[in-house]
Point group: C4
Chain length 191, copies 4
Amino acid sequence: MGKGRVEAFTDGVVAIIITIMVLELKVPHGEDFSTLAPLWPVFLSYVLSFIYVGIYWNNLHNMFHTVQRVDGRVLWANLNLLFWLSLMPVTTAFMGENHFAPVPVAVYGAELALCAAAYIILAVMLHRLHSNDTAFARALGSDRKGRISLALYIAAIPLTFISQWIGVAIYVLVAMIWFVPDRRFERVIEK
Amino acid sequence: MGKGRVEAFTDGVVAIIITIMVLELKVPHGEDFSTLAPLWPVFLSYVLSFIYVGIYWNNLHNMFHTVQRVDGRVLWANLNLLFWLSLMPVTTAFMGENHFAPVPVAVYGAELALCAAAYIILAVMLHRLHSNDTAFARALGSDRKGRISLALYIAAIPLTFISQWIGVAIYVLVAMIWFVPDRRFERVIEK
Amino acid sequence: MGKGRVEAFTDGVVAIIITIMVLELKVPHGEDFSTLAPLWPVFLSYVLSFIYVGIYWNNLHNMFHTVQRVDGRVLWANLNLLFWLSLMPVTTAFMGENHFAPVPVAVYGAELALCAAAYIILAVMLHRLHSNDTAFARALGSDRKGRISLALYIAAIPLTFISQWIGVAIYVLVAMIWFVPDRRFERVIEK
Amino acid sequence: MGKGRVEAFTDGVVAIIITIMVLELKVPHGEDFSTLAPLWPVFLSYVLSFIYVGIYWNNLHNMFHTVQRVDGRVLWANLNLLFWLSLMPVTTAFMGENHFAPVPVAVYGAELALCAAAYIILAVMLHRLHSNDTAFARALGSDRKGRISLALYIAAIPLTFISQWIGVAIYVLVAMIWFVPDRRFERVIEK
């Protein structure tokens, strides 16, 4: 089964997710600067999610670039990841509209953890189709970065109830780690 | 007439449908876990529809892969299918927001039946263009799976008024049958 | 300048327009069949517009298929057409939510007239780039069909104020004329 | 790293932005012409933004056409531009719904300035990857047009508080300057 179909569909869905997120940024009613003030938390959570979806687009694209073949399991593992990513607009707005209150921040962390777990499952499903000496397997390695991120998101959820800012700090930190495109795949692509 | 144009447009529309469905998942107002409780039925109907649209994407893609040519009738049969699929976000939200009440569950069944019928019509229109010894015709066969699904959806509609959970059970069952990508076309593609 | 870029962008925008139109079909509140009754006019206007956008997709695709080159004027003539098409979701909902009242039906006719005029302008701009013996010019011919449609839409606007059903009948009639894909371009593509 | 991935994703996101903007054009409630009157400012700001997004699509497409390679920095500079462009639907509606009041007009100017700055940053990041004798560098030149536009947007912000129509006039003026596709890149593409 060709990978082109999965790549194009994934790119399409991610492009739509990153763009419709803005529809949750409600147009402020009123004509002076004070009407913009309550928008700040919504805006900041939008910025964070835009960066996260950008990271997923980049990493998914790099990963599929080194992939040689896909099968039905990969396809559903990919749809599973797209499902959790598709919830990003809702969890982002939930966190922003409630001014980073503990429960919404924890829910956002659960969302990030579920996306990260879905990404790991996708990588495992792809690994089953590629022997250890393929470009894909070498690039993926032990996927330490993916597993550490998942552990950090899970850790952030209870810490949010001590202070939500610990949770937010962890999400920003992990985003910064991933901000640099996943060099593992890029190094292999360059060869 | 080339099939590429129909394939790309279909993939685009399906990618948009699967993604904008999330816009019906309204952001909860409130900062504690209790505000999330009423979202469960909406979320579960979203999961079911996401899987259904994923199944359609997969089967449409496999079907067009083995197709050799299309004509104006195929094009409108395909737009007819996309039309019924495009109603998925509305019927999904109708079922979820009313906590799986009988009428919305029956309406959702009618929606699934109309999509299934449109898929069968599309297959018939394509069959007219392909003789019985083409890859497409061999892969499609008698399309028993498609016809049984349609019969089950139609049966589910009156059964919903005995108990809506019979209807929901049928929709989940048929989704599970189709969850595995349509091997008929895959087997032919692999050759 | 290559035509591929204009084709892909146009297909993308049309796919989005045809799909987001459903977002104007508001989810009914209530659990019995009576809640669906007021949706009928909205649904019927949605069906009509879905067919119209389908027709535009089909004709645009056929037209660009025979085109050999585009320039900056074609590009803006095309964006002008996409602009008027992008208003389709709003005018459709305006007509449907007001149960085909005369003013909304007239506004919908104006929208169709503006789309038709934009299509004619696009064809003229493309004609300037193609001599009369090109496949494009032969296929376009005198574009009688496009001009008659425009005349019918314009005629429908005042007739709507005698009875809105005259307007609606004209829109349905013209859609039926165009329902068959524009054979002019298909005939040329087949050669 | 291939540029194709960035080009396709950018085209997709821009196509979605230009189309979902219409969702902020709320369907008027009422059946006579007077219900359309308050829509004029919203409609006019929609027209302006549609032209601006069209200009960005055109210029981005021309720019990437002459580009030979991209790297991680270009990718994030491009996502940065897409981020600011994605706010266009919100700032457009904010300006339109408040009938071009000074603060919303100034906010719209800030939005245009941020998009222009992001475009300049993207051009600089691309310039770092292309020596001065490449087609890209010759086409970009000193990018005077981009820098003058940015200066005009920034100048418009304070002038808005003297009269908002000065701000609006500047936005219309700059749009007219860019309306003609960026001939610098076209001239190079033609060769």
